[in-house]
């Protein structure tokens, strides 16, 4: 439970400094949300108040953006769970020609920068004469959410002994019943974790969204627009804190759900 006593102090210092570096900005946003000042980025904060919270909740544009983000995230998550699970079931244990290429192509939406996905989707919608709106945003989000669900499900599937499914079939269950009664319960937390991750990812997404949205504003886009409005800073701070909680808490939950199986290497975005 303790760090090893023979740790060189320079290493310890560097490590803790790095960790602090990671958290200072985040904590700052939290602090600022309670600041009394109108120009609420001066340091140190001048006072403590919660009035900006109620102010934020009264803002129509904030609530609209929140609602849109939630809807898009829900839709994208649902689609991603379906498609990602199917893909994971197909690729978890089978070997076939071209498997490598297919597995790689699943990673592309996340490997290539968001701007590529954004412009690509935008140009495709232009070509197909689809006007941007809720569906285009959701389609964009689904595309990279699939990977997140896929990763989680595939990792869990690979740890499932194949003899379990064989035993189920041996005892009279066909493939569908075996999936429902044996595989799905085992996948449970991994699926949930993947879904939560996808939801958080979609909720936070801004780059692809700016290219696939018309005049719609999700919460991150709203935040981006706010950056040119110094007078609105207090409300912006509150919303920023809110977004932080709304994305970070589910992610924490997802991590906790899969803690026993945590594949330390590949859990990144």
């Amino acid at each position: 439970m303790r760090s090893s006593p023979r740790t060189p102090w320079a290493l310890r210092l560097a490590a803790w400094f790095g960790l602090a570096f990671l958290y200072v900005p985040i904590l700052l946003v939290g602090v600022y949300a309670f600041n009394t000042e109108e120009s609420a980025f001066t340091f140190p904060p001048k006072g403590f108040t919660t009035r900006w919270f109620s102010a934020a909740l009264e803002r129509g544009d904030v609530l609209d953006a929140l609602w849109l983000s939630a809807q898009v995230a829900a839709g994208a998550t649902l689609a991603a769970v379906l498609l990602g699970t199917l893909a994971a079931l197909a690729l978890a244990r089978r070997e076939f020609r071209g498997k490598d290429i297919i597995a790689m192509s699943f990673i592309l939406p996340i490997a290539l920068p968001g701007i590529v996905t954004g412009i690509a989707l935008h140009s495709a919608f232009r070509l197909a004469d689809i006007s941007p709106g809720f569906w285009t945003i959701a389609m964009g989000h689904t595309t990279f959410c699939i990977v997140v669900v896929y990763n989680n499900v595939v990792a869990r599937l690979r740890r499932l002994p194949p003899s379990l499914v064989e035993a189920a079939m041996d005892l009279g269950a066909d493939q569908f019943r075996a999936f429902r009664s044996v595989v799905l319960p085992q996948l449970g937390t991994a699926l949930l974790a993947g879904a939560i991750l996808a939801f958080g990812l979609s909720f936070d997404e801004i780059i692809v969204t700016t290219f696939t949205a018309g005049h719609e504003r999700t919460l991150p886009i709203w935040l981006l627009n706010q950056l040119g409005r110094p007078r609105d800073v207090p409300v912006t701070n509150v919303v920023a804190l809110g977004v932080m909680a709304l994305t970070a808490l589910p992610i924490l939950a997802s991590f906790w759900l899969t803690r026993s199986s945590h594949d330390v290497g590949g859990s990144g975005k």
Binding site: S3, A14, L83, I207
Partner: protein, 306 residues
Amino acid sequence: MQHRPPLARIAAGLYRRHQLALWLLLGPPMLWLGVVYLGSLLSMVWQSAYGFDDFSMQVVPELTLANYRALLDGSNLDIVLRTLGMAVAVTLGCAALAFPIAYYIARHTSGTLKSALYASVMLPMWVSYIVKAYAWTLILAQGGLVYWASDALGLRGALEALLELPVIGGSSLSTSNLGRWFVFVYVWLPYMILPVYAAIERVPENLLQASADLGARPAQTFRSVILPLTFPGVAAGSIFTFSLTLGDYIIPQLIGPSGYYVGTMVNTLHGSVGNLPMAAAFTVVPIVIIGLYLALARRFGAFDAL
């Protein structure tokens, strides 16, 4: 067992036909990826070869290589190089900062502290990107945290001197490349820490013991055993830091001196100018660069460390 409900009949039929079952499973997701994603990429590349009439601000749907030729122009090339330079600098910065953190957590902590620290590294990754960028605008602003801290510590003079330096300096912290570099390193740091951490964890303890047994001092073991074995992890992390910086357009907008990056250029071309073909052409640049980088990183074993 002779009566079979229809679903069971389908299941039994599928049991023999492995290929069919495979494609039924793989079909929908592949269809989506193929049509929506790959299709979009192709349509983008296709449209990058369209022309653009500067006078009418309209896209001209005729194939031409003008856009790509324009990419090689001085100012456009500058944009690419500028972005590339920052990407490299950010990668180096992240690697330098990530390694001590990852090493400390992996080798010098255990049990609950270790999992807690690991989670605490993961968490910022998922805190909203735009919130983090926003937070830094507050931190680097005049009157914000950094200026306050430098005044309190009497380092204001040093800060000013730093800002006088060419290339990395600027008129203020939030309009300097230094500031921009800080924000980039901050935002991508967890992406570097995780693969490096995983790589360090994967070095078997008995290798380090063998090295010590054969007479190597800790520093030598670090240089000759740990560093080479964990390099693939660094390479893997660098894929993220490199490609994420290459394509970013929000942070350069918020922090740093004027001057386009690939991302901001694409954004402007797409948004205000409406020159989608040129924007697409510019977007192909990071794709190519990242493709090359991936091939390079693969050589260094990054794919095994992902």
